[in-house]
Point group: C2
């Protein structure tokens, strides 16, 4: 692989970092490789917002190769939200452009005294003053930097004022609203006084067997185009199955307290398509093009809402207006905020207000009744700016709940707010949220799809009822391993590419002869390594938990009355993983089996 550009922002010293060749094959790239690279640096007493805290931006061996939905890259480090392993995965075009500059990653440490941006164009990397960019939102920096550089082809990655304000739910954004949203790495970037990284390259994306790869990718893209999920994702976006998820009780309402909501049928990809959709947008080389382009009545073309935006600023707050969700989604993007965490924290505020735990006296007079869109919009502005009640919200839902002595009310795991897939509608998500290396995350396994039968047969998962319990634990683990492979290559989870196809692509891209077992084992290795990092960072078995509100049954809707048998599920999961039944620590044998001797 190409070198990683390592930059100490305190000293402004640049170096080219090369990893041992065997790490590539063992960890594949991107997320798992980042865990290997940062393993020694991530310690329990490291302050995520200190100069010593690393921020690693890394591509994978398939990034930019025109493979099926492989235009992605990741950012990694230590999360200011969870103080655990942090990673976030993002599409668009930036990562591809980075590789064309001759680097497969950028590793940042230190802290600049004043705002800077980094400019890479394939020759000498340059740090430039960014005082004039400070305070700009993530859409503005795109325009400003392209103008300054004098090329519309340059790609820009950066933070908004949420990152500048070191808000632990700040993300890192590229292109037009493509977000590495989760785990607060935007705050880490902000803490280093680095506003943005602009890249423009003209090199070749490295491929070990280019002829072979190019043949395979044509077939893989064709197959992907034919995949049942692709049509729906392409035509209706990530909310294509929203009506179904709603029916199953899998779409949260009123901050996970209600199973049904009048008007929720408007929260769907088809409703968006029929009312405001005017176009689609794809990441680099992707045949799906799940990105929406909408016109909400002002003649402007805007980024349309994904499923998480539609629900987070919709039923989660008792609302059902896709236009409002579009506007709030854009605000999150511009501020550089993780939409799930922001809307989740606002949802908690509404829930506490309903319960009388907080009142208008706490909210600067805002009424937080379900369905009140104006208050949500005001709170979002306040949150990003750390103003008024928003300063408290900016710390995330766990801190908010603790402030009001209501910690158990926060629907989060280890400090990260839940994505909008209620595990009571699809029980596999209970394990996913509880055991993800980065808190309540649905991108380390979108198992809700498996729970409703929407995964490729060739993945070899057994099928269980969406309300089955412990019997699905081994399946969940396998699906997590599979998604870990995806997060390492990097391939988008919306692309239903069969394991064998992906393996063939990886072997051709890297010149390897891996078999399927080796590929899946690399996934398990990455998962386990992140577990070990988190154990080093203080995670214990007691942290593998679901928040209390999710352990109660919903009163109505498609999951009404169902209680997750969580304890049995977790116990079966530990067993399936080869982890100690009490401590949740991977056994020495498991570590050695996975080639993690350096940890064992």
């Amino acid at each position: 692989m190409q070198p990683i550009l390592k930059i100490n922002l305190s000293t402004q010293i640049f170096e080219e970092y090369k990893i041992p060749a065997e790490w590539e094959r063992d960890y594949l790239g991107a997320a798992s490789l980042a865990a290997r690279i940062l393993y020694d640096d991530l310690t329990a007493d490291l302050d995520p917002l200190s100069p010593e805290s690393p921020l690693l931006i890394l591509t994978g061996p398939l990034t930019g190769t025109f493979g099926p939905a492989t235009g992605r890259f990741i950012v990694a480090g230590k999360s200011p939200a969870t103080r655990l392993w942090a990673e976030s995965n993002v599409g668009g075009f930036w990562g591809v452009e980075l590789r064309k500059c001759g680097y497969d990653g950028v590793w940042l440490t230190g802290k600049s005294d004043s705002p800077l941006y980094l400019w890479l164009n394939g020759t000498k990397p340059e740090l430039r003053a960014a005082d004039h960019l400070w305070g700009q939102d993530t859409y503005q920096i795109q325009e400003s930097l392209k103008a300054e550089i004098g090329s519309k082809s340059a790609k820009v990655l950066g933070i908004g004022i949420a990152g500048e304000n070191q808000i632990p739910m700040a993300g890192i954004f590229c292109d037009h609203g493509r977000a590495a949203g989760r785990t607060g790495l935007g705050a880490v970037m902000g803490s280093k006084n680095l506003k943005a990284i602009a890249v423009l390259g003209n090199g070749e994306i490295p491929l070990a067997r280019p002829d072979k790869y190019k043949k395979l990718r044509v077939l893989a893209n064709r197959a992907l185009k034919e995949d049942p999920l692709t049509s729906v994702m392409s035509d209706l976006g990530s909310a294509g199955a929203a009506e179904y998820l709603d029916y199953l009780g899998e779409m949260p309402k009123k901050y996970f307290s209600a199973g049904t909501l009048e008007g929720s049928e408007k929260i769907s990809g088809s409703s968006v398509a029929e009312t405001i959709l005017v176009g689609k947008k794809a990441c680099h080389g992707c045949v799906i093009a799940c990105g929406r382009v909408v016109d909400i009545g002002d003649g402007e073309k805007r980024k349309g809402p994904e499923y998480e935006a539609l629900v987070g600023f919709g039923p989660n707050l008792g609302l059902t207006d896709p236009i409002f969700a579009t506007r709030m989604g854009e605000l999150c993007d511009r501020y550089g905020l993780d939409l799930i965490s922001a809307s989740g924290t606002i949802g908690l505020a509404y829930s506490l207000y309903e319960q009388g735990i907080i009142s208008a006296a706490d909210t600067d007079g805002l009424a937080l009744e379900w369905g009140n869109a104006d208050s949500a919009e005001t709170l979002l502005h306040q949150l990003a700016r750390r103003e008024g009640f928003g300063a408290l919200l900016a710390q995330g839902s766990l801190a908010l709940a603790r402030h009001f002595n209501a910690e158990s009310q926060a629907v989060q795991v280890n400090g990260l707010e839940l994505a909008y897939h209620d595990p009571r509608g699809a029980s596999g998500m209970a394990l996913v949220y509880a055991t993800s290396p980065r808190g309540a995350c649905h991108n380390q396994s979108d198992y809700f799809l498996a729970d409703i039968g929407q995964v490729d047969d060739s993945l070899g998962l057994a099928f269980f009822d969406r309300h089955a319990g412990a019997e699905k634990a081994a399946n969940v683990a396998r699906h997590q391993d599979w998604r870990t492979v995806g997060n390492s290559l990097v391939i988008c989870h919306f692309a239903n590419v069969p394991p064998q196809t992906l393996l063939d692509l990886v072997n051709a891209a890297c010149g390897w002869e891996l078999d399927l077992d080796a590929l899946m084992r690399a996934g398990e290795r990455g998962w386990t390594l992140k577990r070990m990092i988190n154990l080093n960072l203080g995670l214990r078995a007691a942290n593998d938990r679901l928040p209390e509100p999710l352990l109660k049954a919903l009163p109505d809707g498609g999951a009404a009355g169902y209680e997750i048998p969580f304890d049995e599920m977790l116990s079966a999961y530990y067993t399936a993983r080869g982890w100690d039944a009490e401590s949740g620590v991977p056994s020495r044998e498991k570590l050695i089996e996975l080639g993690l001797e350096y940890i064992a």
Copy 2:
């Protein structure tokens, strides 16, 4: 296979008909085998409602074997609606029970002087007087005959008053609203004065390699349960993807004249599930259970509406009320009417009324504006009873249009009304409708699913855009062949069973060693034989047409502006089929290749 019970209703002579063994392997069973059996009897001058007209009820080698969704059987003959090949496929439990009586089919000819029903219980078949049943609806005869026979386990197949009245859109119904709806074979049964066939058996369903079959069926059912389509079909029924089809402009509105309709989001499986669904119902041995059970507010458990009912008595008439569609669906069932043809003909009346071609003077004063539910309900009663304006509607849309000198307005092919999948939303359906052996039918290929990528990879179909043209012709032909295999075995089209799995099941059930090519060739053989039958019956290339309204672009919605390149598509289709480019007649070489020497 077990013998077919052949009955001449004029003479009341019974015989056991055995087919040559090679026919089984060449035609598999059910629909294709029926075509082979009836080939000599179906002549151009045969009146479908004459005593000479045959009515053949036939199961397939998988019927009742607890294979994946294999509880089905077919009825076949000459259609009073199209005067072409007639077949219709139905689920439920009746066909299974017939096989348990030791028969794989019932072949009816002749005509009784007075109403009869047939009673089969595995011993001596019996014809009994049915005067007391005449006039009963298809739900009532279930109860009446079970009471008379003294067994709730007996299964009943029969006609309603539409069949008694020999309405050319009358179907044959079994169990509770399971319909062999299309092509008017209920009228043929009515013309013979046969009201019903009750069966109760206790024999074994024959299997050549029972141990092997039973192992395979467990795996096949498990795989089916995991299939992506199954979850949706099971949870949301056949309208599970309605929102998507609506968005694509594939769901017809206002009799195929509009692309959008206010409130159409209520026409969906999730909307039904969230409002009136109280249970599910499966055919014999089926793991999907697509059948809906609903409560529309009166505390009764009723059969819920399928997609075709929701659209036919919904957007087709400018309506969006699932409860109304439920009620009309039940009326069609009770009267014994094909819902698609009935609602389609009523839709034509509304369209002619809008255009001023007919007026209240023609309709006995009924106003037929879009959205008028009361008029539709009145027309449906009149149609079934051949009363007033309904007497004209009862002849179907082609006759209705001709009566008002507006033949081109009827959305039908060769006398059969279109199913509710607009080919402008998914162009493959244009060829499907134009070339189906039974008129505008979506059960000889539901290619709209292929057009949106929802078919199993292993079927080996290339993927084309839903608005691609001639390039998809060969694909359509292959999909038709595949569905012809399904209609012969019989397996439900909602069951996404891979070809290899189905092949293994067939071989184990029948003791064969077919390969996949042979299986698909059997499909092509059946398709081609039906083509030859239709050519014998007077069909010509000029009949392979779409109705004019579908050749114009829709004004709005997901198919707005798209015109089907029909002529090129048809020409490519003939080529792909090995049919003469001008006459559409299968070449002699093709017939010989398929083992149809007796025709060539």
